[in-house]
Symmetry: C2
Subunit: 343 residues, 2 copies
Amino acid sequence: FDAEASAAVARALDGKVKPLRSLGDLEHLAARLAGIQGTAEPHVDAPALVVCAADHGVAADGVSAYPQEVTALMLQSFAEGTSAVGVLARQAGARLVVADLGVAEAPRLQPGQNQVLDRRVRAGTADSAAGPAMSLAEAQQAVAHGVALVDDLVDEGVDLVGLGEMGIGNTTTASALTAVLLDRDPARLVGPGTGVTGEAFARKLRKVDAILARHRDADDPWDVLARVGGLEIAALAGVVLGCAARRVPVVLDGFITTAAALVAWRLAPACTDVMVAGHLSPEPGHQVQLQALGLRPVLDLRMRLGEGSGAALAIPVLRSAVTVLHEMGSFADLGLDDERPTA
Amino acid sequence: FDAEASAAVARALDGKVKPLRSLGDLEHLAARLAGIQGTAEPHVDAPALVVCAADHGVAADGVSAYPQEVTALMLQSFAEGTSAVGVLARQAGARLVVADLGVAEAPRLQPGQNQVLDRRVRAGTADSAAGPAMSLAEAQQAVAHGVALVDDLVDEGVDLVGLGEMGIGNTTTASALTAVLLDRDPARLVGPGTGVTGEAFARKLRKVDAILARHRDADDPWDVLARVGGLEIAALAGVVLGCAARRVPVVLDGFITTAAALVAWRLAPACTDVMVAGHLSPEPGHQVQLQALGLRPVLDLRMRLGEGSGAALAIPVLRSAVTVLHEMGSFADLGLDDERPTA
């Protein structure tokens, strides 16, 4: 994190034709992007949304409102550009990059559709309540895919990355991961996900308890990741690590992508430096995760969809933050001196 | 408000490829715009930001961190396109319309600069702590300017209006207006505005008390508006009324524009139907105003600038809400039946 570039941006914003600090979070965000990118001229010229998808062994137990087949169907809808994140990415002027890390049934795409990158490690994880979700080698491979993906994108000019995910059952996995990594009571983390209530919700809670009974003793973050899963979360942790390595801001989405951010943070604590929280999910564990990472969300629109929808919506706000810095006039331009009251 | 169009949009969104209601406020906003515009195909194709400026007699007493001359200087910066709202309006693809309702010293513009519409009613209000801010006829004229302004814009195709304002001292006026209209203790409403602290803040509070001592007995909203002011607030109340008459969504900005919305609501209660709260100001009275109007803000970015900056930043979110409605695929498209779990 380039504290000097960040401070230079804060100073430049102090000289703009407005009361000091009156643009609030917009100013913090511009200064933060400057610190991350290591330049007093931060930019959001070529953002990309990286959506990773995979299936979860835990889904077999009815922890989700949807059957596992929906993961592959949604990949289809990502390829067609008709998913929420497809629409919102277009709207935000962001490139949409979708990677299959291990959907149970590999999607069959038609010619002319958007590409789904084949980064399949295995056809979905095993049930983590019954054993490890995957092997350590598989977890490492998924993380490596995420790192490599970012590396390629940055080489192609991408200057900001938003995270997205798809995987039926992945709020169950993310709840268990968060409980282990932050040593929290799962009852305070588990929420309705895509909409489970009543008996299905009780089943989901019991499932998380069963995962924890088996893996709570895990401490090493690689070990936690391999035993609890999932494949798309591992890849997203890799995307965060890749962003940290390349000094590219990474915009978190909801509960699942922030679980991936927790994994990345435990693997390499300094990578919180490149994180921006895009939105706040109503999933109760999300607030807990963001507090652990010291992040304040840009948006709070009570969305609980995932896919990267919250990250996509935050991009125009981030772009506005840097545009204010570049295009606003200063008091000096108006012939006023620089002596203005502080707030 | 067209409840049928609104319900049709909610139903259409229920059929999209996502868990029910999982896009949260984005879905509420799309349905609300539909109800306001009276169509199941709501649109944000030609938004405009209407910024009204005027001076306030109360400013002479040092209630602001800035001298009164800054109002005219800021109009200059609006004309140059280098103000925050100028930058953010461009970014949001919104037309910026600036009107002078009574800046103390009329701005001198250079050829080639953006127009500032001359809607001057008088050269700033009188000190409302010493007497009425303006006459009833003047208040009516300012409101009429606002109504006519919207009428022209809608004739030209504008389909959504954001509110903005400029006027040194206008948080003092807005605090007094809000206290009278909602019968509240001013100590709970008055905040730092553009940044007054310490003795200046105490002076501002005393000024609001003095205004209330003289005008608290006013009950008729026209009477309150004329006696407390200000000219730009009256015009903005007219803009709200004009939007209600033309069924055009009006996006409120911060504390001052919402004071104008309170005036419009007291003049014609049904006009809350067309309001959308763009952002939440840290000014303590803003939350109180929004609660009275039954509105939840789209954004909370701790901005306290005014000008329409918060309304401008909300526009991309509103545009995303209608784009999701128009561009997302449905479960039916994927060959899935319509029986999905409710959240």
